[in-house]
Amino acid sequence: MNNPMEVRGKDYIVLGVSVLVLIILLLLSLYITPIGILFNAANPYDGIYGYSLNAVVPKYEVLYIKGLYAPVIVTIDKYGVYHIYASNLHDLFLAFGFIQAENRLFQLDLMRRAAMGNLSAILGPSYKSYDLFQLKIGNLITAERDWNETLELAEEGNPMANLTVMALEAYSQGVNDYIAYAEEHHELPFEFILLNYRPQPWTPVDSFLIQQYMVEGLEFSDDALILSLMYYKMGNLTNTLIPPFSLISQVYFADYNGSPNETVIEETENIWPINSTIAQMAYQLYNEWDPPFINPHPQGHSNAWVVSGKKTATGYPILVGGPVLDFSLPFIWFEAQLVAPGFNVFGVFLPGVPVPVIGFNQHVAWTLTDVQAISWGTFFFVQAINGDYYYWDGHWYQIKHYYINGVELNWTNWGPIMVEKDHLALVMYWLGNNYSNDLGVLLTIAQANNWTQIYNALRYWYVPYQNFVFADVNGNIGVVSAGLYPIFAMRNGSLPYSPNAIMPGNGEEYIAWYIQYSDIPHVINPPSGVIVASNQRPVGPSYPYWFGNTMSFSPGTRAWVVYEYLINHNNITIQDMMKLQWNETDLAACWTLPTILKALRTDLSNPYIRAAYDYLKDWNCVMSPDSKAATIWFYIYSEAYFNVFYGLFNETGFWPEFENIRPGPAGGSWPNTFGLASLDEDLIYILDTGNGTPIYNGSVYSLIINSTISAMKLLETYYPNGNYVWGNFYGFYWPSITGARALSVGPLPGLGGDYFTLNDASGGGGGPLPTLPATSGQSWTFIANLANLSNSYGVFPGGQGENPAGPFYDNYIPIWIKGEYLPLIFTTNITSQNMIAEIILEPGG
């Protein structure tokens, strides 16, 4: 019989195999391979599981935090909003940094990487073109310069800079305290583990990077390239398609309704003719522009309005904000109240920024919309280059070189060289690369006691151009289109070339000055008691300065709906404002419907025309989800757009030469459009007046008939049973910043709307769901009651946290999607009934 304790040959084999397996496992874990990352992620101790603790909200917790001077009390109210009570501002911002990082650490890191152009390091080489573009446009260079300049100003005793430095240094410490805490407790978001990296410490430069990223999202465009290419192929027809002032009537909140300023018209239409080399360079840059990241870019469809006490039931102003931004999960906003001696503000914060962008304190409330002026602050010049030198104003200057992440970036006096060819450089002058301490301005506004302090602070807000709509508890209302607006001139005194298109960069055209602060569009306490800023042009045609053409401003339909309501109503209540904010009336439909019906009546024997007519004849222009008429109008409009502009772009040779400047799935505001407001305004004008010349020389009635037939046929293919209600064509979608479908939400059916309505649903309508759902909308439906600011309301479509397993990932979406609101608990003494958790942050750690 064999002795089981005897060592035989097979023992060595078994041992050898075991040791080999062990070595393979160790090597797989050590080496950075997908399997190794999975192995490490599955580690029970420091793998993904630790993040589950982050999803837990203990009712009471004491944490010891490095850098605090005194204890800080943090409460979470029953709606998930954080209230931070500190005994000094330093501790307040530090605690906020800790709390925000606890909720959004991966988003913070992803946003700063997206801003600076450092995504490929974690997401792989497919992001290299994105990174290169971000590096090229100068975000990192500008963020570093902004921080250094702020430090210098602080050393010189500038109070706004001092406040900014203190806030950002404390905030950074708070974020870094959380990173240390999360690493120590193995609670890092699982994205870090799956991507196999650790978050680098947060710095004040990173907060300025977030500022840059928002400027890029709100004030950055290749419109000037498109306009130059259009002029290159279409000549003066370009100025007909994209006129200086809108063909349809506008609500100009800052007046200047007089006769058009002829000089401004001439300057706008004076497009510098480019040659084929420059056209090729412009087209190359167009093709490099805006490489896709995770989300499409924001649509400029925000709304803000304020109504004075003489129009409200309480006798005090009501302010309403509905900034339209991209949807994502986690969402862009983080909601909190920050309280310290002399500081008490409630609002929504960006990840990485310790001050609310929109909000209120005990005295004032404010909200923002994009001004969308002067070519989105993005200008292009063609400069001669020779070796390491560029030509400017009679002299050759050395090109400035920056080296970042192994990439050489070249700048002239105007900014980054975007494209080089045949000793020519296409250079971008982006106002986003100017110094602007937006964080300091917002910190000052957060402490304002009245409207004048807001007005004075906005003098230092340079980019992005924003309509700051505000009110104070003394009954004052106002708006300022804050920003630094350049005034272009020619050295020989002649008419400047349009800054909306590519300009000569030899020095003949230059920036002579900027519009003085007192002259920028603004209004305080208008006699009407009403201010509406919905991305429409703020000033009328008699404004003495060039302020951009129709390419960038919104068509103005939303502004009209609000303005007419407010002007025609008195004793307005908060509930009235809630209903108005979700209004689904499409004014473009109202304006064009009479002509459409007249045209349809000429051919009612056609069954498609008859069916369309029967639905449209009694329609009230409301884009409600259950309306078939809404869908029919939408598709007639889309088909007419196609019939008018596609033909034109083909006939003029714009296509196929610039083939890629075409509608894309996420392209225009409407499916099958460029997203240029001018063309929408042209079409509305044509359909409203029945007159197409010189853009469309055919019969407008025939255009409508043909568009209707093709629209009805298309709808028939989508829904042979005839159930083409509008609700089947759009829904809201929240893509996860990880790109994972399981972490995304939607498409969800919402209240009705489209691109022209107050309840923005841009992007939808391209086909039956789930095709092209809307991925943007009112990002914070905010209503400030100046009679009692503690009785204000707001909700954003997302959640406070980024942990998908946590309770606050997407919990606001079901409220928002129904058009409902949450009370904003604004108090320095939160009751236990309103509180779900309390965290005490003690100095230590």
């Binding site: 304790m5 023992d11 999975l38 992620a41 029970p44 599981y49 589950s52 799956l194 399981a742 397993a805």
Partner: protein, 122 residues
């Protein structure tokens, strides 16, 4: 009956040691649990491997349960979402967690039995 007792002890020692060693964060150290448990009690590879494997799996299950489930941490949801981001089913992480702990313990147990035989020989 003696075997059942012997391998129950192997299971328990593996479980306890492996649980403790998981706290080091160095997963491969759980090999030691299998080794220690078997070097004193086992002389058969198969039985040692089975009891160590079960001990290892149980230790990782217990670890997840005590460290997260007790505090209310949604471990399964986190695994599901992490899997979605990684492009794999979420249970893959749990499977790997249990499996790898078990395999490390099995390797330890084989080394343990072999060591015991060598010691016995000398």
């Amino acid at each position: 009956m003696r075997d059942l007792l012997r391998y129950s002890i192997v299971f328990l020692i593996t479980l306890a040691l492996s649980y403790a060693l998981l706290y080091t964060g160095i997963w491969a150290l759980t090999t030691i649990a299998g080794l220690v448990a078997t070097v004193a009690f086992s002389r058969e590879y198969l039985k040692a491997a089975i009891s160590s494997f079960i001990g290892g799996i149980t230790s990782s299950g217990l670890f997840l349960y005590l460290n997260y489930a007790v505090f209310g941490g949604p471990v399964l949801e986190v695994a599901y979402y992490a899997g979605a981001v990684a492009g794999i089913p979420g249970y893959t992480f749990l499977l790997l967690t249990f499996l790898l702990t078990g395999i490390y313990c099995v390797i330890g147990s084989i080394i343990g039995v072999f060591t015991r035989k060598i010691i016995h020989k000398h």
